[in-house]
């Protein structure tokens, strides 16, 4: 199961690249906001189809367990789309990928620490190596 989860995370990364590529291509012909609108429109249709095809029976959770934060994913997605489209025009892919990853990794570790109250040095070292590896991987594109 653990290996399957790793495979899912890996494929999730591929999907992120495909989303960025396709949305950026569309934004070239329309505008950034048009591209974001189309992404959420096709995304909504596809998500509803997936929901109907999976198992449309569900129990409404108790209101006490609901928090406003849970519903912010869509809005955060808009901000991510907008920022990455804006920034992509002004800095190199190298710098952008590296900085996004550093922001994601540091925040991810803080959030993991908040949830587990444990800071794992090996995880931190691994994250640093990922950043170094990313530097070498994208250095060629910068040149």
């Amino acid at each position: 199961m653990y290996l399957l989860d790793l495979a899912f995370a890996f494929v999730g990364g591929i999907c992120i690249v495909l989303t960025r590529m396709v949305c950026a291509k569309l934004a070239e012909r329309y505008s950034i906001w048009d591209s974001i609108f189309v992404a959420f429109f096709t995304g909504s249709v596809f998500a509803i189809l997936l929901f109907l095809l999976s198992n449309p029976t569900f129990a409404l959770p108790s209101l006490a367990r609901l928090t406003p934060f849970m519903f912010t994913g869509g809005m955060i997605g808009i901000a991510i789309n907008y920022l990455s489209n804006k920034v992509a025009l002004h800095i190199s892919v190298f710098t952008m990928t590296l900085l996004i990853f550093i922001g994601q990794m540091v925040t991810g570790m803080v959030l993991d620490w908040i949830q587990t109250q444990q800071l794992q040095p090996l995880k931190l070292l691994g994250a640093c190596l990922v950043v170094v590896g990313l530097y070498f991987y994208t250095r060629q594109n910068k040149a």
């Binding site: 999730g12 999907c15 995304g43 998500a47 509803i48 808009i78 990455s84 800095i91 691994g126 060629q140």
Partner: protein, 139 residues
């Protein structure tokens, strides 16, 4: 400012993984994905309304370029599954390996109308270091 925006984008991605993961834990992955997409669509429509703009269809664009949302849904779907067992940091790190390798293949083959780029040793070295980093993160 652009560099700060990139770091903020990364931080937002990590926060979004947590928000979507918590929603999926309550509603199930499929319905959570519907909620994420529909809420995003509603706010985009609100933006169009406030600016008195509207989407005008342009002919001659390949259908595939309109399907970015589908891959977005799949990435949210998969992240929601892995967030619970792997945590945010490891999900991000393994996802990055997927991003790097797929970018590499796109560049190498010139997919999506991108110019072909040749393969360099430093890229292989970089991917190897990323892989070692992820193995360390797995503990």
């Amino acid at each position: 400012m652009n560099k700060l925006s990139s770091v903020i984008t990364g931080a937002l991605i990590a926060i979004m993984i947590v928000a979507n993961g918590q929603l999926a834990a309550l509603f199930g992955n499929a319905l959570a994905n519907v909620l994420v997409q529909v809420i995003g669509l509603m706010f985009t429509c609100l933006f169009f309304l406030l600016r008195k703009e509207r989407f005008v269809y342009k002919a001659g664009i390949p259908l595939f370029w309109y399907l970015g949302g589908i891959f977005g849904v799949l990435s949210v779907y998969l992240n929601n599954i892995t967030f619970i067992s792997l945590g945010v940091a490891l999900t991000s790190a393994v996802g990055l390996l997927g991003q790097s390798l797929s970018s590499f293949v796109i560049d190498l083959l010139g997919l999506f109308d991108m110019p072909k780029k040749s393969f360099h040793f430093t890229q292989l070295m970089g991917l190897s270091i990323i892989f070692i980093g992820i193995v360390l993160m797995l503990g």
